[in-house]
């Protein structure tokens, strides 16, 4: 209740400060991530190594193993967090996310099909990101085509229902495909599906970085449209938004960001659900603040999960994605209980 006494300028400053705070938090967990692992490095040496000093051993560990993994984690977090915000706002549904709308299952099915039918071995997974992306876009397009009618205004309920139904269909086919896979392929697919940061080569990371930067910049440019759509399709139309066109563009951006993140990082779809929720509690509904905040929050979660996987012996070899879910579910349930 105290909130409403604040003036607009104060609220704005408040939100900027909160986002800066989130970034600082991200930096801290990032550095913590550099320190921790099977070969522990103290904080001072980490800083020294990053700025060019350090021993050969610390250089190898940090530049060779930890930085790529952490950078990938940050990117995946940003991609999933931003994508979740867009999907939730587009569909006016807090449960919307690449995972719940069938887009994830579509990506995953394509990857499975590819691994099962085309490649002989899984040594060259270079095409995987592209496949996950194509799969995500195709499945999203099918959901959009089935869930909308040309002569009718958009209905978010219809789209969500279509997404859920198609998701079930995709994942059923995917599960069936598991039976025809040999053991090596099966293990890869299983690990990929449960979320493992595998694409830790600098080439992959730079591709993902450029990809997310481009998509993210366009998304930030469209935030004012996204804000208008958040008021309802009718209101947005009245304000001059071409809802169907903007919806398709924003959905494309969301699917593009989530599929690319997932392709390189593995299945982290739960982040797309939890990241936006946490961020919304911190900065509110304005997507100009919500998208970056959700990205940072998701990145923090994924790094925290990764630290646990890397550093706590009993958790070792468990895919990070599973940890993200384990970390987020209690918080998510807490949000649900409190919202009543």
């Amino acid at each position: 209740m105290a909130e409403r006494k604040l003036t607009l300028a104060e609220r704005k400053r408040g939100r900027v400060i909160k986002i800066v705070f989130l970034f600082v938090l991200l930096l801290l967990v990032f550095l913590l991530g550099c320190c921790m692992g099977p070969y522990a490095i103290d904080f001072a040496s980490v800083i020294k190594t990053i700025f060019g000093g350090g021993t050969a051993a610390t250089k190898l560990v940090i530049f060779g193993f930890r930085l790529p993994r952490l950078c990938l984690a940050v990117l995946v977090g940003f991609g999933m967090g931003a994508s979740g915000v867009i999907m939730q706002n587009l569909l006016h549904n807090d449960l919307a996310s690449p995972g719940t709308l069938g887009v994830a299952d579509g990506s995953s099915l394509f990857v499975t099909l590819y691994v099962a039918l085309i490649v002989g071995t899984v040594d060259i997974p270079v095409l995987l990101p592209v496949l996950a992306l194509i799969g995500g876009l195709i499945s999203a397009a099918i959901i959009y085509l089935l869930g909308t009618k040309r002569k009718k205004p958009l209905s978010s309920t219809k789209l969500v229902m279509t997404g859920v139904a198609m998701g079930a269909c995709y994942s059923a086919i995917g599960t069936f495909m598991m039976y025809v896979l040999d053991e090596t392929k099966l293990e890869f697919i299983q690990r990929w599906n449960s979320g493992e940061l595998w694409g830790t080569k600098w080439e992959y990371i730079s591709i993902l970085f450029v990809w997310l930067s481009v998509f993210g910049a366009v998304a930030m440019h469209e935030t004012k449209t996204l804000n208008a759509i958040n008021l309802g399709y009718d209101i947005a139309t009245g304000l001059g938004v071409n809802v169907k066109v903007s919806f398709a563009l924003l959905a494309f951006l969301a699917v593009g960001m989530s599929s690319a993140s997932v392709a390189f990082g593995g299945n982290f779809f739960f982040l797309g659900l939890i990241g936006p929720h946490i961020a919304r509690r911190i900065v509110g509904t304005d997507t100009r603040y919500l998208i970056p905040a959700s990205g940072v929050a998701s990145a923090v979660i994924i790094i925290a999960a990764n630290i646990l996987v890397e550093d706590v012996e009993i958790f070792m070899n468990i895919p990070t994605g599973i940890f993200v879910s384990v970390l987020s579910v209690p918080y998510f349930l807490y949000l649900l209980i409190r919202s009543r």
């Binding site: 209740m1 909130e3 409403r4 006494k5 604040l6 003036t7 607009l8 609220r11 002569k151 009718k152 205004p153 930030m220 440019h221 935030t223 004012k224 804000n227 208008a228 958040n230 008021l231 309802g232 009718d234 209101i235 139309t237 009245g238 304000l239 001059g240 938004v241 071409n242 509110g284 509904t285 304005d286 100009r288």
Partner: protein, 268 residues
């Protein structure tokens, strides 16, 4: 001169045509209420004019220009639409919500210019919402909430505002407040107001013209004195109403009414 004119406008859902062919003109600077029984197509007509639902045929002409030839943003500069019972995220402040009314004028990343801010403050002022400018929507009363939505429509700076049942869910006092506000806007800014109203007495009192629809067709269109008659009540609403002349603003008023069918049964 007409602010809005429909030519052979046809609207429907799927294969059901609700409005087959509508030719009406709404006078510039007037207040017009569309009345009719449930399912007669009054909201449908309003939404089709406001391009919220696609039309099945015909044309809508706004200030002499065919809507089909205009960009959506340009239409939003001529015509503001307020749907029935709109819902906003509760954490938005009044100022923020009203600022969305500037959308059709914004470019790029949507930073508010000085002019934008002045217009938003003006819209809050006209609707008596200035003191609530930093309050979150969730903490507003129903009447205040409707006023802030109207302020958003005003920030669009359009000559025409369409409203779908702007008094829904409001108590008697707040219904009057909203309608008085619309009347004030009409008188001071010359805003053309076209709305769907359920309450016939309020429609009669506040409107220059009434458009009575029956089965998607114009039943009658004219001043409240011409349209608001006992015959219209019987044929459009199937009620037996008692109309008296000289209500407030010397408009006709329906004093009491009964179901038409009941009367038939008594006769039998």
């Amino acid at each position: 001169m007409n602010a809005i004119k429909t030519e052979k406008l046809a609207v429907g859902y799927d294969k059901t045509i609700i409005v087959p062919e509508l030719d009406v003109g709404f006078k510039k600077g007037g207040i017009t209420s569309i009345i009719g029984a449930n399912g007669c197509g009054k909201s449908t007509v309003l939404k089709a004019i406001g391009r919220i639902i696609p039309k099945a045929g015909g044309a809508v002409i706004i200030n002499g220009k065919d809507v089909g030839d205009l960009k959506n943003k340009d239409i939003a500069k001529e015509l503001a639409v307020l749907p029935q019972a709109p819902h906003a995220p509760g954490t938005l402040t009044c100022f923020e919500l009203v600022s969305y009314g500037r959308f059709p004028y914004q470019k790029g990343f949507g930073r508010l210019t000085k002019t934008d801010r002045e217009i938003i403050e003006w819209a809050l002022g006209v609707t008596n919402m200035s003191e609530f400018r930093d309050r979150e929507i969730a903490y507003l009363s129903g009447g205040q909430r409707q006023r802030v939505w109207i302020a958003m429509a005003l920030a669009q700076q359009t000559g025409i505002i369409l409203l779908d049942e702007p008094t829904t869910y409001l108590d008697l006092c707040h219904q009057l407040e909203v309608l008085e506000l619309l009347k004030k806007l009409n008188e001071t800014q010359g805003t053309t107001i076209i709305m769907v109203l359920h309450d016939l007495n309020l429609a009669s009192r506040y409107s220059d013209e009434l458009l009575a629809l029956k089965d998607g067709k114009v039943y009658s269109f004219g001043t409240p004195q011409e349209v608001f008659t006992e015959t219209m009540l019987q044929e459009c609403f199937r009620i037996d109403g008692k109309i008296v002349k000289g209500g407030l603003a010397s408009k006709p008023l329906c004093l009491t009414y009964d179901l038409l069918r009941k009367k038939d049964e008594n006769v039998n």
